[in-house]
């Protein structure tokens, strides 16, 4: 008898009554997607949770992937048995014997959800605990601070015995809360913002502003790499690369040097919004954090944000930079984000950008551009290149070795 099953516990979706079936199906689909490379796995859906049978696949490898699937609160490797006392006892002993190094203290917690089972929880605690104690030398019971808590869950579909609970990402399954457009710069913040919103069940497409030749091909490659990392969490992701050079150089020539960043970011929001409309996204996501830089003072956030009519989600708004960095490290985007290639946000940036831009002056500067502004925005949208990425692949890449044809 070995721990051939994983109990997967869903998080917040269990609180939602009405669309529960849809959520559970979405959750199952996301788990299957994430674990697609483990071909032997079989799945068994139950009320509020999911059972995965390993069928010989490595628990550690599956666990490593599973911990990053949004919507899962925790999971446990378990032995599944029929609802028979003898078999449950045997399973309990097997689970305890698999613990390495062997524990000195333990306790048993039985949960009898299936009331048709003849023994109640208290009886079962004794029946299982005594069996384990009898067969394990040097093991004692400690109900307050046990080294191992042996859990026995008796449910209609069978009994599950386990002693380890691995925490997972939590949140909602991806796609449950609709779609949004992430402004992905290449810095540390925006990928974290993306991850946080994806965790809340938001499907994301990313938009990146590329000012070639002022910004290099490498800076674009860097953003593709970040999108690919986010696609690890999201399965796949569309990355829209917007040619921003002409609009940006036009803005740089307006004569409002200190407002450059404000004007630029307003233009970005407008373009992102058009792309969002095209792909049915209902919000914009940015990595803005209050007070971090000149464009992220409350006054700037106000003036910039007014350029968009879609809601702007700013999950990092109240976070400290150090916490954002820690999070970036944890989700695996930090190393890429700190690569030195310049992105377009650092171009034409004045020495002292406005921290308190005046909305009327900003609007006047934009009016001066007249039809140019609209034309350049339209051209930028029309010239946008969309790359579809997964964790390992990208739609604009050639097959290995085919570069020799060019």
């Amino acid at each position: 008898m070995t721990e051939d099953w994983i109990i997967v516990r869903f998080g917040e979706i269990t609180v939602k009554g009405r669309n529960r079936t849809r959520f559970e199906e979405l959750m199952l689909a996301r788990v299957k997607e994430a674990l697609a490379s483990f071909q032997s796995l079989t799945y068994d859906k139950a009320y509020g949770r999911l059972y995965i049978r390993l069928n010989g696949e490595s628990f550690e490898k599956v666990a490593d992937r599973l911990k990053d699937v949004f919507g899962i609160v925790s999971f446990s490797p378990a032995i599944r048995t029929e609802n028979e006392l003898a078999k449950i006892r045997e399973a309990a002993l097997a689970v305890m014997r698999a613990v390495d190094p062997p524990p000195r203290t333990f306790k048993v917690s039985v949960k009898r959800a299936y009331k048709g089972f003849p023994h109640d929880s208290r009886e079962m605690n004794h029946l299982v605990g005594a069996h384990v104690l009898r067969n394990t030398p040097n093991l004692k019971v400690d109900v307050h601070q046990p080294e191992v808590e042996l859990k026995v869950e008796i449910r209609e579909e069978g009994t599950f015995v386990h002693c380890r609970t691995v925490p997972a990402a939590g949140g909602f399954p991806l796609g449950m809360n609709g779609k949004a457009m992430l402004l992905l710069s290449g810095g540390i913040d925006s990928p974290v913002a993306g991850w946080m919103m994806m965790r809340k069940g938001l499907e994301l497409e990313a938009v990146h502003f590329h000012s070639y030749p002022y910004t290099s091909e490498q800076s674009k490659e860097k953003v593709v790499a970040l999108a690919q990392r986010l696609a690890y969490y999201g399965g796949r992701m569309k990355l829209h690369v917007v040619p921003f050079t002409e609009l940006q150089t036009r803005l740089a020539r307006t004569g409002y040097e200190h407002l450059m960043v404000t004007l630029m970011r307003r233009a970005m929001l407008r373009i992102a919004e058009r792309l969002a409309e095209k792909s049915g996204a209902l919000a914009l996501v940015t990595g803005e954090s209050l007070g971090q830089v000149a464009s992220q003072t409350l006054a700037s956030i106000n003036v910039i944000g007014r350029a968009a009519t879609l809601p702007i989600l700013r999950p990092l708004v109240a976070m400290d930079k150090l916490d954002i960095i820690r999070m970036a490290e944890r989700i695996g985007t930090y190393e890429t984000s700190i690569l030195p290639y310049e992105d377009c946000c650092t171009l034409f940036v004045p020495k002292s950008p406005a921290t308190n831009p005046n909305l009327r002056i900003v609007e006047r500067a934009e009016r001066r551009l007249g039809e140019d502004m609209e034309r350049l925005i339209q051209e930028a949208v029309a010239g946008t290149e969309t790359i579809e990425v997964t964790e390992t692949e990208r739609s604009d890449a050639l097959r290995a070795g085919e570069e020799r044809w060019f």
Binding site: G383, S395, D396, L398, R399, R404, W405, F406
Partner: protein
């Protein structure tokens, strides 16, 4: 006897690597680039990669490259595309007297359909004057079409100056047939104010049946064929994936080291002219100013001799050249181009074209001169005296 191929302006031997690439792509990527499945996507990626590469080598944006079936289609697409995109009835085209048949006949066809045409003359060097081109432009002019390098004589037209002269005519589109120019002389079409530029792959060691038209962003063209709307709607038809990839590779191979090749051809061309001067029966048709001539083409006449006789005699001696251009060489008419340059019928009807490629060196040129001398000696008794 070793055969020497001196007819590169007619077509070039494809690069070995290009032949391999074409075969490999043909075998591996047979899917239609318009198909939604993965195989289609991969074929599309190759076409787009090729487009980006062509764009980069020729100073264009990828979206400005339209792949076609070759120079003739590109020229027709440019000319008829512009004429067709203008709604009003009265339209006027300016072109030159020395254009390739695919421009000249295309314009003729439009003339029959009611489009007004002005054909500007050329001087003794075979060049148009930018002032005359500008003077020919009218209010209803929609297009000026002037070739870059003449396919018979190698004369280089003053494209930059024409572009400058047309700068104050925003209603006029400027098309340049660059088939003989690409990879032979520098091409800065955009800087020169050119709106449409034609290229053909088999002139730079790529496959036949592939060409492109560079279309400046913002220029609208009426497509020649109705269909699936490929190539940004400008050229319907399933893209020739292997040909396009091979063409892009051929262009890169031709552009890498183009300068060094150009210098080599220039030196060889000087030697050919020197050798020809020693054969009194032959006259050179072209400018004495080297910078006005493409480095790889020499046009000669044997007045009083039917050129196909000279071509066949040379062939017997292992030298392959063309009379006039390969396209019109079967017509036996005096060359329209040479007549436009002011030469009489005897000289215009007796011309041959020698055009060089990568494989030629001093030895090959010495052999060419030697056999040319020999052929002329053989034919001399048969020549009509002037």
């Amino acid at each position: 006897m070793q055969t020497l191929y001196f007819d590169h302006s007619a077509s070039t031997p494809p690069h070995e690597q290009v032949i391999r690439t074409m075969a490999e792509v043909m075998a591996a990527h047979y899917a239609n680039p318009g198909s939604l499945h993965r195989a289609g996507g991969e074929a599309l990626k190759l076409v787009e990669r090729a487009r980006a590469s062509v764009a980069e080598w020729l100073g264009a944006k990828p979206q400005e490259v339209v792949f076609t079936s070759g120079g003739t289609e590109s020229n027709n697409l440019a000319i008829k595309g512009i004429v067709g995109s203008v709604g009003r009835k009265r339209k006027h085209i300016v072109t030159s007297a020395v254009e390739h048949a695919s421009v000249y006949q295309c314009v003729r066809q439009l003339e029959e359909a009611g489009v007004a045409v002005t054909v500007v003359p050329v001087d003794r060097d075979g060049r148009v004057s930018p002032e005359q081109v500008r003077a020919a432009v009218r209010d209803d002019t929609v297009l000026v079409s002037i070739m870059h390098v003449n396919n018979e004589t190698g004369a280089i037209q003053p494209i930059r100056e024409i572009g400058e002269a047309l700068a104050d005519c925003p209603h006029v589109r400027f098309h340049v047939d660059g088939v003989q120019a690409i990879a032979k002389i520098p091409v800065a079409w955009k800087d020169w104010g050119v709106d449409l530029y034609t290229g053909s792959a088999h002139k730079f060691r790529g496959p036949k049946g592939v060409g492109f038209l560079l279309v400046r962003e913002g220029v609208r063209l009426a497509p020649l064929n109705a269909g699936g709307g490929q190539e940004h709607g400008m050229r319907s038809g399933t893209p020739n994936v292997p040909g396009i990839v091979a063409a892009a590779q051929a262009l890169r191979l031709a552009m890498e080291g183009a300068e060094e090749r150009r210098a080599r051809w220039r030196a060889l061309r000087r030697r050919i002219l020197e050798g020809v001067r020693e054969i009194p029966e032959l006259v050179y048709n072209g400018s004495e100013r080297e910078e006005l001539q493409a480095p790889h083409i020499v046009n000669l006449s044997y007045p009083g001799m039917r050129p196909e006789v000279l071509v066949h005699t040379l062939e017997k001696n292992g030298i392959l050249v063309s009379t006039q251009s390969a396209c019109s060489s079967r017509s036996l008419q005096p060359s329209r181009v040479l007549k436009a340059m002011g030469f009489d019928d005897a000289r215009a009807a007796g011309s041959i074209r020698i055009s060089m490629g990568d494989e030629h060196d001093e030895t090959a040129v010495e052999l060419l001169l030697e056999r040319l001398k020999q052929a002329v000696a053989e034919l001399k008794p048969l020549a009509k005296t002037r």
